[in-house]
């Protein structure tokens, strides 16, 4: 360091002498390189001013006293800049550390919230969930009940990022603690509502959809808590129909009764569930219309459900210039027999 400093100070002096004599661009380019080397080694502005003063004194021993004082004055003025520079440097390092910490947390969240897609004959399931930032505030889960029915949960914490992600673990563990028996969706939502209401700040809300699908009958029994509606695709008519039930988002009030409804799907029909990250995709200043989602799904009907959701995601990712505004989750369930 000591050597580096002396070497660069000498170089600075040489370039300064050259410039004072010839005012050439080569010397200016030279000082640009020296300056970059200083930055790289965290040399502070006041030290550079000091190098300048020393070099000048050596080159011109008879320098005017008043001129010399003016340079001391400049040095003094640089001290606070030097401090600000160090502070920013430190904050930058902290930010890098923080980013890597969040990325570890995001990885951990992925592992924690992992759910296994059920592998059932006659049923083709595709699901994708991509966070806008590193941590995901959307959640989906599959529960396989002993009677052969499948629980499907999709939830979205209002908000995103770390607080949303932390909150989501709660839903996951509550769902995990359910008995492996078929339970009416309104009962499940009612339970989760109480858990969320008791355990979160009053400004934390979760929208959720819970449904139970019976692979034998093709019947889906469902209940919504303020969540984005689901869509039923009828293959015969090539038509999407919205389905939902009225219900307050989780976490607002302790006692909420949720409603239940059901639909029955036939061969090649689909159930499409999503979070508002899909419907609130933006193309420039324009929010997309739900029909646009349907049109994209139709383009990929020939693919498997998993490829379908992936292609839909890719389409909207491109539309938004690869910068998601919100966590994006899409689930498609197709009856194949």
């Amino acid at each position: 360091m000591e050597n580096f400093f002396k070497e660069k100070a000498d170089e600075y002096k040489k370039l300064l002498a050259e410039y004072i004599e010839f005012q050439d661009e080569k010397a200016l380019y030279g000082v640009e390189l020296v300056s970059k080397a200083f930055i790289k080694h965290n040399i502070l502005p006041e030290e550079i001013v000091n190098i300048h003063i020393k070099a000048l004194k050596e080159l011109y021993p008879d320098l005017f006293a008043s001129f010399e004082h003016s340079l001391d004055f400049l040095l003094e003025a640089m001290i606070s800049y030097g401090l600000a520079h160090q502070e920013i440097q430190n904050l930058r390092e902290q930010q890098i550390a923080l980013k890597s910490e969040i990325s570890v947390a995001a990885q951990m969240q992925k592992t924690l919230l992992k759910t296994k897609k059920p592998d059932i004959a006659g049923l083709d399931i595709g699901v994708i969930s991509v966070p806008a930032n590193q941590m995901n505030g959307d959640y989906y889960s599959f529960l396989q009940n002993l009677d052969g029915t499948i629980g499907i949960a999709m939830a979205d914490v209002i908000g995103k990022g770390v607080p949303a992600a932390l909150c989501m673990s709660m839903i996951k563990y509550s769902l995990d603690s359910l008995p492996k028996e078929s339970t009416p969706p309104p009962v499940i939502l009612g339970n989760l509502n109480r858990v969320v209401e008791r355990n979160t700040e009053s400004n934390m809300f979760i929208t959720m959809m819970y449904g139970e699908y019976n692979p034998e009958t093709g019947k889906l029994v469902y209940s919504f808590a303020g969540h984005e509606p689901g869509y039923y695709y009828c293959a015969d008519e090539d038509r999407f129909t919205e389905f939902s039930t009225a219900g307050l988002v989780l976490g607002v009030s302790e006692d909420v009764e949720y409603e239940q409804a059901e639909i029955e799907i036939a061969k090649n029909d689909m159930i499409v569930l999503m979070t508002d990250g899909v419907t609130e995709c933006r193309d420039g200043d324009r929010f997309i219309e739900i029909d646009e989602v349907f049109d994209v799904i139709r383009q990929y009907l020939h693919l498997s459900a998993q490829d379908m959701v992936q292609e839909v995601y890719r389409y909207f990712e491109r539309l938004q210039d690869f910068q998601l505004q919100d966590d994006f989750s899409l689930l498609i369930l197709r009856k194949t027999v």
Binding site: E46, N50, L75, S80, E87, L91
Partner: protein, 133 residues
């Protein structure tokens, strides 16, 4: 320790006096121009903190020796409201965001050693040392 000199801080002008004395002592010991400027700035920050938050206090100066090293030790003392969370004020970005200056992290950077003691309602003492290189 037995402080050799001391400046009382009551009004903003006293900050100038505190800087002046510190710079003179630093020069006498043989600190470089850059380090003299750094010590003066550190004193400025300490004195401003007293003036802004504690109303009054003092800064003491002492030339200290450790093995073969010589250093300048500054002690800033006040009987102001105290700092409830020293770790927080030592964090970068905490005091500077409001344009209040380099704050205590700045003092720590300008000097070589830094210690802070504070008690709510009783006051704050900051001891900091710069060693001659």
């Amino acid at each position: 320790m037995n402080p050799q000199s001391c400046v009382h801080i009551h009004k903003e002008w006293d900050i100038v006096g505190a800087r002046q004395l510190g710079r003179e002592m630093a020069k006498e010991i043989g600190f470089s121009t850059v380090d003299q400027a750094r010590i003066a700035t550190a004193i400025s920050e300490l004195a401003r903190n007293i003036y802004l938050y504690a109303d009054q206090g003092k800064i003491s100066y002492e030339i200290i020796y450790n093995n073969s090293r010589t250093g300048l030790c500054l002690i800033a003392e006040d009987e102001g409201p105290g700092i409830s969370d020293i770790s927080q004020v030592m964090e970068d970005g905490f005091t500077t965001s409001g344009g209040l200056g380099a704050g205590l992290p700045g003092v720590k950077r300008l000097m070589d050693e830094f210690e802070a003691y504070s008690e709510i309602g009783k006051g704050t003492t900051i001891k900091t040392v710069k060693w001659l290189r």
